[in-house]
């Protein structure tokens, strides 16, 4: 299992991209622009998510000096 925070964010990007491919394929199948519009919203959401996520990764790296996701368990969840 990958526990590197950078790889976790990359995998989130891959999953969002797969969702976008599904939307665009469905919109292209029916000849409607709605699938592409949903992809634009996914794109905006991915940009927002990755900017906040990478800022959090930088902050966690300054706190713990590694990129392990298990290092950030102060809340004992």
């Amino acid at each position: 299992m990958r526990r590197n925070l950078i790889f976790i964010l990359m995998s989130i990007e891959i999953m969002l991209n797969g969702t976008g491919v599904a939307f665009v394929a469905a919109g292209s199948r029916w000849g409607q622009p709605d699938g592409q519009i949903m992809f634009l919203f996914i794109l905006a959401m991915a940009a927002a998510e990755v900017s906040v996520g990478l800022a959090l990764v930088l902050r966690l790296y300054h706190l713990h000096h590694n990129l392990d996701a298990d290092a950030a368990n102060e809340m004992r969840g």
């Binding site: 991209n17 491919v21 519009i37």
Partner: protein
């Protein structure tokens, strides 16, 4: 057109699998960029040229540059030079370059053919997308602009200087005031009042 779609799909799947199995973050990032470019070719072959262009510009251009910057900022240790030397070996680039060569041959073939109307469900041109985006989906555009504003404020807040430095500055100021007032903490706290008479 269908052959181009299948080849680009195979390239996307292979590069995505290579992305999630690499151990080095920079290698994974290279394969991820190739995967996004392959998905852009898939979009173009499916008859969605606007989304294909946005995939290249925003995903492979902007978001991946964010990843590159963060990986660059996290490698400030002593072993950064050694790792850099290992990354420039040359055989690292073979996989992404081969996959990208397949993609660029495909794009050249598609541009030379220049017949976009052969795809399965017909082409959805950018004018149609724009009319629908600013017609029935206007509230979605406003909501995504608010989301981007929130992300901007959040990233600015998270990227501010660390809190210990600010506390140190305030402590230094209060130490100076305490020394200036002869070690009396009450006068150090009320500096404005003690300076007045």
């Amino acid at each position: 057109m269908e052959v181009a779609f299948y080849i680009a799909g195979i390239v996307a799947i292979v590069s995505t699998v290579l992305t999630i199995t690499r151990l080095n973050a920079v290698h994974a990032l290279l394969y991820l960029i190739v995967s996004l470019l392959a998905v852009a070719v898939v979009f173009y072959a499916m008859g969605a040229p606007l989304v294909a262009a946005l995939e290249v510009i925003i995903y492979a251009g902007a978001i991946m540059v964010l990843f590159v910057f963060v990986i660059m900022m996290l490698n400030l240790g002593k072993r950064a030079a050694i790792a850099e030397g290992q990354w420039m070996q040359g055989n690292v680039w073979v996989g992404p370059v081969l996959l990208s060569a397949v993609l660029i041959a495909e794009v050249v073939y598609l541009i030379l053919r220049a017949r976009l109307t052969e795809s399965a469900g017909g082409v959805v041109d950018p004018k149609q997308v724009g009319l629908a985006l600013y017609g029935p989906y206007l509230i979605g555009v406003e909501l995504s602009s608010m989301l981007l504003l929130g992300a901007l404020v959040g990233a600015c807040h998270l990227g501010r200087p660390v809190l210990e430095k600010a506390e140190g500055r305030y402590d230094r100021n209060s130490d100076g005031a305490r020394a200036h007032s002869g070690g009396n903490p009450i006068r150090a706290g009320a500096r404005g009042a003690s300076d007045a008479p």
